[in-house]
Amino acid sequence: MKQPKDKKDKKKKEKKVSLKRTWQNNLFALREIGKASPFYLIVYLSSTVIYGLLEFFTGAYLLRKIVNSVEVGEELSGIVMYVAVLMAVTVVSYLVLNWFWHVISPKMQQKIAMQIQKELFAKASEVELGCYENPAFYDKYVRAMDEASYRVSQVLDTLDTLLSHIITTSANSFLLFFIDPWLMVFACIPLFLGFIKKKESKISHDWSVARKSTERRVWYVQRTFYLSDYAKEMRIGGMYRLMLRDLRESYRVFRDLTNKYGLKVTLLSTLRHFGLDVLTVFGATLYAVWSTMYLGPANGGMSVGDCVVVIGSISTVSYSLNYIVDTLTQFHEHALFLEDVRYFLDYQPTIVGGERIASEDGGELRVEHVSFRYDGAEKDTLEDISFTLKKGERLALVGSNGSGKTTLVKLLLRLYDPKEGEILLNGVNIKEMTLDSYRDRFGTVFQDFKLFSLSVRENVLLREPREGDEELVIRALKESGAYERVMRLPKGLDTVLTREFDDEGANLSVGEQQKLSLARVFAENTPFVILDEPSSALDPIAEYTMFENMMRATEGRSVIFISHRLSSAVLADRVILMDEGKIAEIGTHEELLARGGKYAEMFSRQAENYLGSEVTDNE
């Protein structure tokens, strides 16, 4: 139970952003907008100012002018001219403003979103893989990706709202002040209500925090019912009753929480509305009516026109002031989210390339006393690993689950850097080479390979297709055994994978997908090939042909492959048996069998299943 508490404290700490930082973060958002288009920002804000002024002059101000001039007994034709001119100005301004809001602005908003999104993508493909495994960092990262473009446009939006309220408030206050300075007392009541508001939102916040875990529970129950993965289990067992029980219990929790927090929030909220909607508005109204009726313009009181304006504007002022307080807290909220965005964009990746270009035809890869530990792990995943992969050699990595095979592969690809020791390509530390040139020397199929929602051709090449790639792709597909299947697809090589974006797209089975990802290795003639359990989704026959093809097609290239079916290790020049992060045994298949160690034991155990008594007989 200790852990969650710590986490909460941490979150609270994170939630605080200093005033200075709030300012900087919001400024950052404006700079991003400025980067996409400096004029847009200025024009956008000016449009708000114009709109605010028009509202004022065609509203309370106009009414006052008409009423006053009638009271004084002016000629009506003069005021009619005035209204007509105002009308013409308003209509023209509205045409221009609307064009800007509905045509220019949406376009610019898209551009801004694009700008920031691409900055994030660029960063995302640059940070080291370890970042994905650090939950705190990854949380920030996901939030940054999700929120960035929305938040940036929100900053502009909030700034815009603030500006329009400032204009409304100041124009109306100016008018009120001009009519009677005492009215300012009423207009200022909303400012004092800020305290109540703060208290109210604190309780609401606590309340929603208290609800969170139960809400998550409800979400989970919901998922178990609607995800088809769970459909079978839900039908054959009694688990669904447990889930429904959770659901009913959650309501009890919600009810108790409402009893705990509900009344407080209600009272505070009532008090706030009383101040804002009752005291301010009716107070000022009464004062104005009193001033007009008892004093009258002759004794320094208000004229009828003034009184009318007060009744009309006082609620406008009080609402606008209230909103101004709100927008300030909104800037703070934006700053919280932008903090993540900035943290992410400012993050400096620790895996950076050097200056040298890795040799085009590969060479000898040497691993020297390499140890590695994942961040936050209690022990090393790899411990003092040393071996050499000679040019053109085939190496099998075997060992039980969790023995460090896949981690070793990640180090070889420089997705991580070793904590100790070094990896050398032709005697040069791989850290001295540029990341691109080094990784380009490898063709890799990961255990959890991914295909993209692009065409088959692009998925195999994983780069922009060029003239003459056709044959390359076809050959690669033939070698991986996917050619026939691809040719049966409606658009052949140009078929887009998954139906997500293309109705003529293709959904391939896992085995077919794996073949396609193998084709990638065949398409690029890289000096090194890494295959991480390339046959896990294949049935025995398919596995057999796959290995045969692979060995033929990668003639002359250095190959490292991982498998936990030892039958395939036989195909390798040498075998490395990993055990708990160390190299337990290394040598040719025959050598290891002859040695009678762990490898021999595993091999005979697996063979026993197939050969049964024969094995024991032979021994």
């Binding site: 376009k107 994030l120 989970y220 609607y226 079978k232 994983l462 780069r463 025995p540 697996q606």
Partner: protein, 621 residues
């Protein structure tokens, strides 16, 4: 939701029917919410009317020099009423309605859950049905709240509007007509601009989805390695740019239309009518037909009324929108399971027989849902074809074959998750269609290949339901032991009460694939059914662990009937009978030795798998 983008024409009766249906559901599941919301609408309507009458009276009174003490008394009364209104408003909107909405949410979901569980899995295979279903799950309660809000708003607007309208009629009927005409115009504009927005959304929807996908690629760890070791990055960025360009040109194209419908048609027109009303009132003022107070009061009232009226008319359009959504929800509730049966008392297992059973997924899902166009003949691929097999109590049966041979489908039919397209399955000689599916499934313990571990304690996962200490403890421990999980269990902090997954519990434990599989197997042992089905029980294990687990399973199922599926042939040697499947048919039957002697497909498959081991062993010896 692809279906949202279609905009079918609905008859008015359907719209009313659907909205009434939803209101009925709300009133049934959360009556307090229903009435509290209606009351909220009325109360605010009265508040708004009172403001209008009060202002109207006040402005007239100022103009004509009224009685201040009377104004004071009146104002204090209005203030007192407003305070009560805001108290109710605060209580309703800040505290109570959220709880009532939760109640509605939970009740509606419970209904949906029970419904979903009762439906055949075949429905879930139909992507269109599945989309609708997920939608109903996610959206229905939110939509219920929208409907309630719309109705609530309607109450408010109708009360508020009728008061203002009555007031303005007392001043000048002509003004009321201007308001009506301009409001109708506003509704036409808003209708047209909604259409523009709708068309925009529809056309831009694929682009949004595409961007969503690209976003996912960059932020899911699954793709991180791929992006780093290849040049996919360039390709993806190119896609992004192309999509963004299309989005921008769409924004401009529809922006112009929107500008015409809404910007010019409504916003500019609204300004013009505002001035027209001012001119008209000025005319009345000049003619001495109204006083200064009346002049200001009328203008204020007219402008306010125009707003209320266009909201009120806009309200009707919302019911049509709601109706589209409710229709889908109702359709889901109307769907009936086809897998049913009467007999709930299931006798003890003696035999299970497949007689000429054929099955096709396409046919099964299409035939059941909405009688949609049947798939053309060549598209129907049969997952099982003319299968005959018999299992007797105590048999150990192995089902083998390549990927896609129909092994898992066979299990699904055995469990009656699907009914065969042709032929029949007999349990103790009785067609299983006669049995209640829930009761029938209790008789067979199954571990699926894609089993699921729930975010609950180990014990609850094993019992597959509620865990009662004194009743279940022994059973759970024994089952975990049988599933070879004891070693791991000893390392768990709270033993069998340890929470699995970190979903809700930071102290929860995430099991590895192999360990999860063992818990799933323990689940079957805990059920203690005479018949057990294991679909690739050791696929997530490395060879050593697989060996241990198989030993353990065999040891503890001596007196039971076991059906296991495997594409590794190593485990099949101990089976009494092996059924070799190929493209949905049983091609060979017999014991391991018989099939090897027969030298058919099974023998070939076995040879291929063992070849490497064999040659190596031979060279060594």
């Amino acid at each position: 939701m692809s279906k949202e983008t279609k905009q079918p024409k609905q008859p008015i009766a359907t719209i009313i029917g659907n909205n009434l249906f939803m209101l009925g559901r709300i009133a049934k599941y959360a009556p307090a919410y229903f009435f509290a919301s209606l009351f909220w609408g009325m109360l605010h309507g009265v508040r708004s009317s009172m403001t209008a009458i009060y202002t109207f009276y006040l402005l007239n009174a100022i103009g004509e020099g009224g009685d201040f003490p009377y104004v004071l008394k009146l104002t204090l009364l209005v203030m007192a009423f407003f305070t009560i209104v805001w108290f109710y408003d605060s209580w309703y909107s800040k505290a109570y309605s959220s709880l009532l909405q939760k109640k509605l949410h939970l009740k509606m979901h419970e209904e949906l859950f029970v419904k979903a569980r009762s439906l055949d899995i075949a429905y879930f295979d139909d992507p269109e049905f599945y989309n609708d279903f997920v939608w109903a799950m996610n959206e229905s309660d939110r939509r219920a709240i929208y409907v309630m809000n719309t109705v609530r708003g309607f109450c408010y607007q109708i009360v508020s509007f009728s008061t203002s309208f009555a007031l303005i009629l007392t001043v000048k009927p002509m003004a009321a007509i201007i308001v009506l005409v301009s409001s109708i115009f506003s509704v036409i504009c808003s209708f047209m601009s909604n259409k523009v927005n709708f068309a925009h959304r529809k056309e831009a929807n694929p682009l949004w989805r595409k961007h969503g996908y690209l976003n996912r690629v960059y932020h899911l760890p699954d793709y991180a390695k791929e992006i780093r070791v290849s040049h996919a990055n360039d390709l993806l960025l190119k896609e992004y740019d192309e999509t963004a360009d299309k989005k921008i040109s769409l924004a401009v194209k529809y922006g112009k239309k929107y500008f015409l419908c809404w910007g010019v048609g409504w916003e500019v027109f609204a300004e013009i009518t505002r001035f027209l009303i001012i001119f008209y009132m000025m005319g009345l003022l000049a003619a001495g037909e109204i006083a200064i107070g009346g002049f200001v009061a009328s203008i204020t009232l007219v402008l306010q009324m125009r707003g209320t009226l266009s909201n009120l008319l806009g309200n009707f359009a919302r019911y049509a929108e709601h109706s589209l959504y409710i229709e889908k929800y109702r359709e889901f509730l109307r769907t009936e399971p086809t897998i049913r049966g009467e007999i709930t008392e299931i006798p003890e297992f003696e035999t299970l027989e497949f007689r000429n059973v054929s099955f096709s997924y396409e046919f099964s899902s299409h035939a059941k849902y909405r009688f949609r166009d049947k798939p053309s003949e060549e598209k129907i691929s049969e997952a099982l074809k003319d299968v005959n097999l018999t299992i007797r109590a105590g048999d150990k049966i192995a089902i083998v074959g390549y990927n896609g041979a129909g092994k898992t489908t066979l299990i699904k039919l055995m469990m009656r998750l699907y009914d065969p397209t042709e032929g029949e399955i007999l349990y103790n000689g009785v067609n299983i269609r006669n049995y209640d599916p829930d009761a029938y499934r209790q008789k067979i313990g199954t571990v699926f290949q894609d089993f699921k571990i729930f975010a609950a304690t180990v014990a609850e996962n094993v019992v597959n339901g509620e865990y009662v200490e004194e009743r279940d403890r022994e059973r759970v421990l024994a089952s975990l032991e049988k599933a070879d999980f004891s070693e791991k269990l000893a390392t768990l902090p709270d033993g069998i009460l340890t929470h699995l997954t970190r979903e809700f519990n930071d102290a929860g434990v995430n099991l590895s694939g192999g360990e999860s599989q063992k818990v799933a197997i323990a689940r079957v042992f805990a059920q203690d059914t005479p018949m057990m089905i294991m679909d690739e029980p050791s696929s997530a294990l490395d060879p050593m662990a697989e060996y241990h687990l198989n030993q353990s399973i065999l040891h503890h199922t001596e007196d039971k009937t076991v059906v296991f599926i495997s594409h590794r042939l190593s485990t099949t040697r101990i089976a009494d009978r092996i059924y070799m499947f190929d493209t949905g048919r049983v091609v060979e039957v017999g014991s391991h030795e018989e099939l090897l002697a027969k030298d058919g497909k099974y023998a070939e498959m076995f040879r291929l798998q063992s070849e490497k081991y064999r040659t190596e062993e031979q060279t060594l010896s």
